[in-house]
């Protein structure tokens, strides 16, 4: 019978006695291991500078839609604690829920807007937006009369008073689409549409892939490239989980129709500051609301209708 193939000749040690630990091989292996460990430690060294790592609580936190009220209460307590530690201000963090029979719609009168950018800065103050690096939800485009070509618009106009002759002004912010492309592309379901039409972001669930930012045809989403900086004395302590609580580095944020105000029955900050009354906000399911009247009686259009996003943000004219 042939010798069993699976039992080859035993792996004999090299005749020079390599099985024994001699001085040379010990030093060689030791040096290799030591340098390997040193290289590993060096490559992990940047981790020592990580000061804004998430807590264990935050890491183990569930998705917003799966949280029970008790768990939510714990999360809100954690956020309160963290904000108090960082900003030395005791915030009122709440989780505002959508109301039944309410669907928010925004209407903006292009005949009235004078491009003063008050809405932009009121939004910054209300929503605790970062100042360095700067994040602004609203972009006011200065457009030459007679065109809707966005490429002809400028958002960096400055110097002199507005409105300028021969221009109209078109503020653009999140349109809270009924068919939102940003929600479709999110790989982790960190952004979704609520029943009152507001598309929200769970900053604790966002992984910062920025797919939504690329998908938005209105350039409405903003990414926190660095840790947002808000001056302590400017922090708005009235906060909401899905709204204006301080964001982390590496998450996406966007306009949420001032969720902490509108779900409490108030108007968004950009509307309240507008000196010309160009901005209108209300419940489209209420036939007596101002926005219902506008959609019935005014010449209304939506931006980039052809992309099929069905925005809840309407522009209209006074004629």
């Amino acid at each position: 019978m042939p010798t069993p193939m699976n039992n080859p000749a035993p792996a004999t040690p090299a005749p020079d006695g390599g099985d024994r630990l001699n001085r040379r091989s010990f030093l060689r292996c030791g040096a290799l291991a030591a340098s390997g460990l040193a290289a590993l430690a060096a490559s992990l060294a940047p981790l020592r500078d990580l000061n804004d790592t998430m807590s264990v609580e935050e890491f183990l936190q569930k998705h917003y839609q799966e949280m029970t009220p008790e768990e939510m209460g714990k999360v809100l307590a954690r956020i309160t604690r963290e904000v108090e530690k960082q900003y030395e201000v005791r915030p009122h963090v709440k989780d505002y829920k959508p109301m039944d029979g309410v669907e928010f719609v925004y209407a903006l009168n292009l005949s009235r807007c004078i491009g003063c950018r008050k809405c932009v800065h009121a939004c910054v103050a209300e929503n605790n937006l970062s100042q360095d690096p700067e994040i602004q939800y609203i972009r006011v485009l200065e457009m030459p009369n007679g065109t809707f070509d966005m490429e002809k618009g400028r958002h960096d106009y400055d110097g002199g008073t507005v409105p300028r002759e021969g221009h109209y002004y078109m503020p653009v912010q999140c349109h809270q689409c009924k068919n939102p492309p940003c929600v479709k592309v999110c790989p982790v379901k960190a952004t979704w549409q609520e029943s009152d039409g507001i598309t929200v972001v769970d900053y604790d669930w966002c992984i910062g892939c920025r797919y939504c930012e690329a998908a938005c045809p209105y350039w409405a989403r903003r990414f926190n490239f660095a840790r947002p900086s808000v001056p302590k004395e400017r922090l708005n302590p009235n906060m909401s989980y899905l709204g204006n609580r301080p964001r982390q580095k590496g998450v996406v944020e966007k306009c949420h129709f001032c969720i902490q105000r509108t779900r409490a029955g108030r108007y968004p900050a950009c509307l309240e500051i507008c000196p010309t009354g160009s901005r209108k906000f209300g419940n489209i399911l209420d036939p007596d609301s101002a926005v219902s009247y506008i959609l019935k009686h005014k010449r209304v259009f939506v931006l980039k209708e052809e992309v099929g996003t069905l925005p809840r943000f309407f522009y209209y004219f006074d004629v």
Binding site: R117, A122, D156, G159, G265, L271, T276
Partner: protein, 258 residues
Amino acid sequence: MNTNGLKATVQAAIIVAFLVVCAGFLLNLWGAYVTPPPNPPTPFAFTNVTTVRLPLAELIRLEEDTSGADCYACHEEGVVKDLAFDENGMVVLPKAHRDLIYYRMNCAACHNPEEEVEVEYDDDLNVIIPAAHTNAVLRHGTHSRNNNCYNCHVPDKLTLLRTRSGQDYPLTESTQVCGGCHGTTLRDWEAGIHGRWNGFWLDMAGERTREGCAACHDPHAPGFPSMNPGRPPAPYAQLEATRPQHEATEEDDAHTDE
């Protein structure tokens, strides 16, 4: 040169190049990283929701000083004062009417509390009043046809306003007088879509408030005043900060003169 020699030379050259680059980095040959100036915080004028003007109706309601609006401190009741017109057919406004505007403006709607305002003087050392602060002009409409006091004021009783259809209203109800001509705008206002609402969109949460025409429009020059816009988004604001200052002031002057 043989192959080995060539190889050694190339290797040496690469090593030298790396060392030079390293030395460059260490010595900051390309200059240190310049931190851009920090973005200034949001000005308080952008969080103040007051309207541009304080209308007379509001002043009367708040029981504030309305002495400047007392017509009969100077005029005699029942006596119709003839209007003076210049060669262009425009009403010549007496200088006394110029002062009415000061307490009617809401400073905080446009200015910051900490803002420093440069006061300019003319040759006689009188303060030059910026165009936005003065109502010594009648700019009601693009034609000058409406620049006549008695189009709205009752000639023999100046505290009353009269619509074209002959109804009289006190000064506090000027909105109805405006609506006598601006009917479509009054319709929009009554429907709640002209002018800004403050307060609550939800009725059960609280009250909604809004103002009459004169809270935003000066009845004598109702075109909405032009404003200085808030600063543009960074980095444009930072670029603006590095731009030579004289350019900006020249532009400002040009606009104040308008």
